[in-house]
Symmetry: C2
């Protein structure tokens, strides 16, 4: 979670109409929760839904870095004060029509570090 | 697909036991198909299954770059000659026990380019 908090964006995966969906999104970590700005374009269920969230720093050239994967329940943030506060932190501007923010409650957190083969893995 | 072929890794998302799974993986593009090395650790169904595949070059600092998302059927590559050829291209070493390679038949391909706000989006 510390590594995840050190980066500001990742990829969220969930099912929609029984098909897998994956999108790059921005996030912050607040307490034990991951707060994700999904804009107006991402249609997760309005009900609680399980999502997977992936953050990595894998370098395209060296292929070194780390990867953290979280699985947990997600739900829309509905409290207006929270929406305003998170929106400012995530986007730097006020909410626009249809903008949505979700919170993920991490249930499973796994991580992999990719290090130089010469120094082991 | 040209952009996707210019990068060697991405993130694959699929459902397993009705839960969303996301993993960073290496890929190549062969003809109209995306060939993905999933190693021994990723358990997609042995049957054909729909997956989402995401490749991006989003910069952690500037947040600029592009993102390509593909949805399509995936299946294990089973032809031994293809396995050997793809394995050499993807990993540079011969297959090890349990190593798996899948092919994705792209059905939907979408892309987003993130450019500097000053120059539009």
């Amino acid at each position: 979670m510390r590594l995840l908090a050190s980066v500001q964006f990742g990829r969220i995966a969930f099912s929609r109409y029984a098909l897998p969906v994956i999108r790059p999104v921005d996030h912050i970590v607040a307490g034990d929760e991951i707060i994700v700005y999904v804009g107006a374009a991402i249609s997760i269920s309005s009900y609680q839904q399980v999502v997977a969230y992936e953050v990595d720093t894998i370098d395209h050239r060296t292929r070194l870095g780390w990867c953290v994967i979280v699985t947990g329940d997600a739900e829309f943030v509905s409290d207006p004060a929270e929406i305003d506060r998170y929106h400012a932190l995530l986007t730097g501007h006020p909410p626009e029509h249809g903008d949505r923010i979700i919170r993920i409650h991490p249930d499973i957190v796994t991580g992999v570090e990719y290090v130089d083969a010469a120094s082991g893995r």
